[in-house]
């Protein structure tokens, strides 16, 4: 049940959160309501801005942000693309999740009522070259249950999270990525700005 305000639930969810892992299922609908792609997999997040987004079905894709770079590995394409983490990913919806405590810096955040058994926050990007018009975060029982965002194409992507595990011990190499043999690595990420990792 959507108990407290969404903001209160966000704060409860984000406070003391060092690392977290969850399952996600994502589905997109285009502006005319046609079902687009769907995907499911696992997500791990850890301070300071580490994330691992792994799609298992219906295709495979792995995105790892190691604090300096964001690696995107597509086994079907036998290709790894890499870029600096600070620049690109700052505009992507995933960045919302990595900086839950700092939302107000990037977005105009407002309560957006309750529906579907969740209390909702609406996020509008402060800068105008964000890749999405808005994002909505749905909370219930002090947990983030749903993220919805609409990109500039009018596609709405809904991501449902389940089975949150807070501050679980994550394997050491969760946020590290080494390109597998045979995969081509494309794009070189300058090490201009490296985040000092405090383990």
């Amino acid at each position: 049940q959507a108990a407290g305000s969404a903001r209160a639930q966000l704060d409860a969810f984000a406070s003391g959160l060092q690392s977290v892992s969850t399952h996600f299922s994502q589905v997109s609908v285009d502006a005319n309501g046609n079902a687009g792609r769907s995907a499911s997999g696992t997500l791990q997040l850890a301070a300071p801005r580490l994330f691992r987004w792994q799609v298992d079905k219906p295709y495979h894709q792995l995105i790892v942000a190691d604090g300096t770079r964001v690696w995107v590995y597509d086994p079907d394409l036998q290709q790894v693309t890499v870029r600096a983490q600070n620049s690109a990913e700052a505009h992507s919806p995933l960045n919302v999740l990595t900086d839950l405590k700092l939302l107000d810096r990037q977005f105009k955040v407002s309560e957006d009522g309750a529906h579907d058994g969740q209390a909702w926050l609406k996020l509008r990007p402060n800068n105008d070259h964000a890749e999405f018009k808005y994002a909505e975060l749905g909370f219930a029982d002090n947990q983030l249950q749903t993220m919805v965002f609409e990109d500039l194409l009018g596609d709405r992507t809904t991501i449902r999270f389940s089975d949150w595990r807070r501050n679980a011990k994550l394997p050491a190499d969760t946020f590290r990525f080494t390109p597998p043999p045979g995969a081509d690595v494309i794009g070189d990420a300058p090490t201009a700005e490296a985040y000092p990792l405090k383990n």
């Binding site: 687009g36 394409l77 500039l152």
Partner: protein, 205 residues
Amino acid sequence: CAPTPLVLRPGTGAERAAQAQRAQVLAQLPVWQASGRIGVADAQQGGSGGFDWAEDGESIDFTLTAPITGRSFRLQSGPDGACLSGLKPQPVCAFDAAGLLRTELGWELPLRELRAWVLGMAAPGSASRMQYGRDGLPAQLQQDGWVIQYRSWDRQARPLAMPRLIEAQRAPYSVRLYVEQWRFPELAAKPATASSAHGDAPGRR
């Protein structure tokens, strides 16, 4: 599945005849849809996502979706012009689709040729060199300064084997397509989709 290593040799008479037949068969099927994964890169950066590509002989409807990793965009191009939407709040339109990709994305892609390459054949109108692989199917095509490698094929596709993993390269650009599903709606029999077909929606209308 690791693709067979590229063995490159000129085509036998039979292979060249089969290639001529491919061009003929596909010329009768101007309406097609392809969907799968796409990776595009230039010297500085690259991205990957899902793609839906629909053609009907006159117009192109191409959508790249990368909701998490990057930008989704849609290119619609027809005889009277092209529009690119999803990069800016409002669609950007111009007369020529390739020019739009150049100005809006900084990509230098020969769309007309790419259409033929992805179907497994050279584009008409300029010299090209096709080399064949161990399995008798096209393995590498060179045209207009581009090198197109056919790293794996979908032999169950109808009406004939269709490329599955294709890479088109011309420094500093690389376009890589993994086609999960080919569809030729005009085929009389129901097209047998690729073994790993998914519930992806066909090209968007």
